[in-house]
């Protein structure tokens, strides 16, 4: 179980941080999901841990969004502190030339910004389908929606990303 958590924690953290836009909230969601998986599903076969973990995480994200909605309604006069997100990255491993690395890092940063502009469902659907490589069936089970909805969210996510990238860099795919 520990090896599985080490393997998945970074990607899950990224997913949670995209959903919440906050480092602290992402860590909270990640911790809660890990605790639930370890407490309740440790006895399940290893191959079931990944979809189970993402299902738990998606449920936590959904609950977080609902909580935020209520919080914003009740405390509409309060504005949350804007946290630096994504957090500063470690550039120690960059071995490319400065010009290439600058252009590449700018492109990568822009791609992450475009991902942030997607709706929560499109964002999570894209991350699960494209980045994690999960099937439509697994993604539908994790997101607790129909396979048709998964395909729709994914198609819209890709279309929007393409438009944003094209307009941002004035390039055509």
């Amino acid at each position: 179980m520990e090896a599985f958590l080490i393997d998945i924690e970074k990607r899950a953290y990224r997913m949670a941080s995209f959903a919440t836009g906050s480092h602290a909230d992402a860590l909270d969601l990640l911790q809660d999901s890990m605790i639930k998986l370890v407490s309740n599903y440790q006895d399940k076969p290893c191959k079931e841990w990944k979809p189970l973990f993402y299902k738990i995480l998606q449920n936590k994200i959904r609950d977080w969004h609902r909580h935020q909605k209520v919080k914003n309604l009740l405390f509409f006069w309060k504005t949350d502190e804007v946290q630096e997100w994504p957090p500063a990255e470690n550039d120690d491993h960059n071995l490319e030339t400065p010009e290439n690395s600058l252009a590449k890092s700018q492109q990568q940063g822009a791609a992450l910004e475009h991902l942030k502009q997607l709706s929560p469902k499109q964002q999570q659907c894209f991350l699960l389908r494209s980045w994690e490589g999960l099937s439509v069936i697994d993604t539908a089970d994790i997101m607790q929606c129909s396979q048709g909805s998964v395909k729709t969210h994914y198609f819209r996510a890709v279309s929007k990303l393409r438009k944003l990238m094209e307009s941002d860099h004035e390039i055509t795919f």
Binding site: M1, E9, I35, P87, E89, A111, W131, R162, M165, F173
Partner: protein
Amino acid sequence: MKSPSNEEEEGKVKLACNDALDHSVAHLSKNTLSDLARVRAVALSQSNAQTRSRKSVINRCIDWLFNPFINVGVPIAVAVVIAISVKYASIDAIPELPLAMMATEVPNEDFAMLEDLEFVTWLAENEQSALL
């Protein structure tokens, strides 16, 4: 059905985004990495604590069953409770007879007087009920 150009465009978008995501994950800051390690340790320790508490409850139950005090004391206590409840029940059921009636030898004269007394009492009761 998707056209080949659409699929190609989709592929390029996916590749660019996945590349950016992989890079961001591979270059997380040291603070973030230590936070992740802490979160993982907390989750695993919670699981261990839960397992220990579950085991300790089970162990405690087993120990309780095999406790000599429980093995001997509980049956004795149950027996005492049953005995007391039976005794109280037997007391309430049958009233004790007076000692005089327990005597084995009753003189004949007294016997006759008792019979007459019984007859007179019965007669008086019948007359009363007839009057009513």
